[in-house]
């Protein structure tokens, strides 16, 4: 009994030493911004639910902006990775949380239609209140060296030659990748074979080894492979070229009027009071405008774009409609 106690004491001491040694992230009260919050929100730690695993694109985006937003809000933001079900488990938990502004979550372009894409989903587009959008990440179309595809024209030619045979890797069922494929096929009149991998990393590795012909990873996933020369970059699906990959043309430049990005944002459960929402919007805007954040986001491969408040709400609804139409037209609903 004594030994157990002394062990526990030793443990507590060890941990506190380690805790002190690294300094922790205790913020100063009042925030670094010039505007003081009008209400007494926030007065305790804010929980941020990320429905995907730590280290992934979603997680990194949220961690980066939270780092700066913490200072603006004057409270810690604790990231909680609740994974599973292609993001639906975390979002279900978010939709059921109290709308008092102390629980927020990550949201992306396809999530508002989850109830159509997957069975048994209890939330829908109205369950959430959009707060801010922080980035709109494009995809880079890459091809394997084996496939012999060097540009968009090759891609379309090869796909038309053998309809339904060109292997197109997707990073997960019904993610932004899938929708890109649907949009592209519709616009150019081709059809390709869909190979579903678990995560962008697996998809791009497959292209690198030649098992898969084409994939559309995000910039951060694609860059190392492109730099190593293992895959052939074809085009990027944003409006303009990307600074960190200046040699990759846009799809538009190749003559096809096509852009596709996956936007990332933060939402709260529906019913958050207006002043709380406003405080959050302001804080995130100040964090976003911080040039240090911009630099870090760029290095992480994020395409920063910002919308907040009513702007974002309108965009959110519009986006929902667009994706809903796509899903209905291709009969994906289950």
């Amino acid at each position: 009994m004594k030994k157990a106690l002394s062990f526990l004491l030793a443990l507590a001491m060890l941990l506190s030493v380690a805790g002190c040694g690294s300094g922790g992230t205790a913020p100063t009260s009042g925030g670094a911004g010039t505007a003081q919050p009008k209400s007494d929100y926030p007065k305790k730690t804010i929980e941020m639910i990320v429905p995907f695993g730590a280290g992934g694109g979603a997680d990194i985006a949220i961690r980066l902006i939270s780092k700066y937003a913490e200072k603006e809000l004057g409270q810690n933001i604790v990231i909680n990775n609740i994974t599973g079900g292609s993001g639906t488990i975390g979002l279900t938990q978010l939709s059921g949380a109290k709308p008092n502004g102390y629980t927020l979550g990550y949201f992306s372009s396809t999530n508002s239609n989850d109830d159509l894409l997957f069975q048994g989903i209890k939330y829908n587009v109205d369950s959430f209140q959009p707060i801010v959008e922080i980035s709109a990440d494009p995809h880079i179309i890459v091809a394997s060296k084996k496939s012999g595809i060097k540009n968009m024209a090759d891609l379309i030619a090869k796909a038309k030659e053998k309809p339904g045979e060109l292997k197109f890797g997707v990073g997960g069922a019904w993610t932004s990748w899938d929708f890109l494929k649907i949009k592209l096929e519709k616009q150019t009149g081709i059809s390709m074979k869909r190979m579903v991998f678990q995560g962008g990393a697996a998809a791009i590795t497959s292209v690198a080894s030649g098992d898969c012909d084409v994939a559309v990873p995000f910039v951060s996933e694609a860059l190392p492979q492109i730099q190593a020369g293992n895959v052939v970059p074809i085009a990027i699906t944003s409006k303009d070229r990307f600074d960190l990959a200046p040699d990759v043309p846009t799809v538009k430049e190749n003559g096809i009027d096509f852009t596709h990005t996956m936007w990332r944002g933060i939402v709260a459960p529906a019913g958050v009071p207006d002043d709380v929402a406003q405080t959050l919007c302001d804080a995130f805007k100040r964090a976003y405008d911080n040039p240090e954040y911009q630099a870090e986001a760029l290095k992480a491969g994020m395409f920063s774009e910002f919308k907040a408040g009513a702007d974002f709400e309108a965009f959110y609804r519009e986006n929902h409609k667009t994706y809903k139409e796509m899903i209905d037209s291709t009969n994906l609903a289950q």
């Binding site: 009994m1 157990a4 106690l5 526990l8 443990l11 507590a12 941990l15 506190s16 805790g19 730690t45 929980e47 810690n76 604790v78 069975q119 289950q334």
Partner: protein
């Protein structure tokens, strides 16, 4: 109950489980169906094989000498399992702190601990140290309960 009867019960239970899974196959899209169907079949085959051997041995099996301590032991184990279940159920209802305290006391009781010191000190130490480490240091919010709101 002879051992062999328990075994038969297990095999039957497994078959019931497989049947429940089978009913779910209906709504599945084709691509998702193939692999689980194969597994269901494999389970059914192996289970049937075990069942037949057991049935064949049914005649040969002799009654085993009953260990006199067994019923008391089984009662204790089942009671503990119920207490475990209650503990986990209660964490969300009355909060982590209270349910852990209660669980420790219950555990000590079932294991027939008589000393008063132990029955007070252990629950307190365990609950508090676990709370400190997880809630303060690892910043994980432990449940505070929906029926009785008791937490920090």
């Amino acid at each position: 109950m002879k051992n062999i009867h328990i075994n038969l019960a297990i095999q039957t239970g497994v078959f019931l489980l497989l049947a429940a899974f089978y009913t779910q196959l209906g709504g599945m899209p084709e691509e998702a169906k193939g692999y689980p169907t194969f597994l269901l079949a494999a389970c059914a085959i192996v289970n049937a094989s075990i069942l037949f051997s057991d049935l064949r041995n049914l005649r040969d099996e002799e009654a085993v000498e009953k260990d006199p301590a067994a019923p008391a032991m089984i009662r204790r184990v089942i009671l503990y399992i119920v207490v475990l279940g209650l503990y986990i159920f209660m964490i969300e209802k009355i909060g982590y702190v209270l349910s852990t305290l209660l669980f420790c006391v219950a555990s000590l009781q079932i294991m027939r601990v008589r000393s008063w010191k132990m029955q007070v000190l252990l629950p307190l130490c365990l609950t508090i140290s676990a709370y400190v480490v997880f809630s303060r240091f690892l910043m994980i919010s432990l449940p505070v309960g929906t029926w009785i709101h008791f937490g920090f």
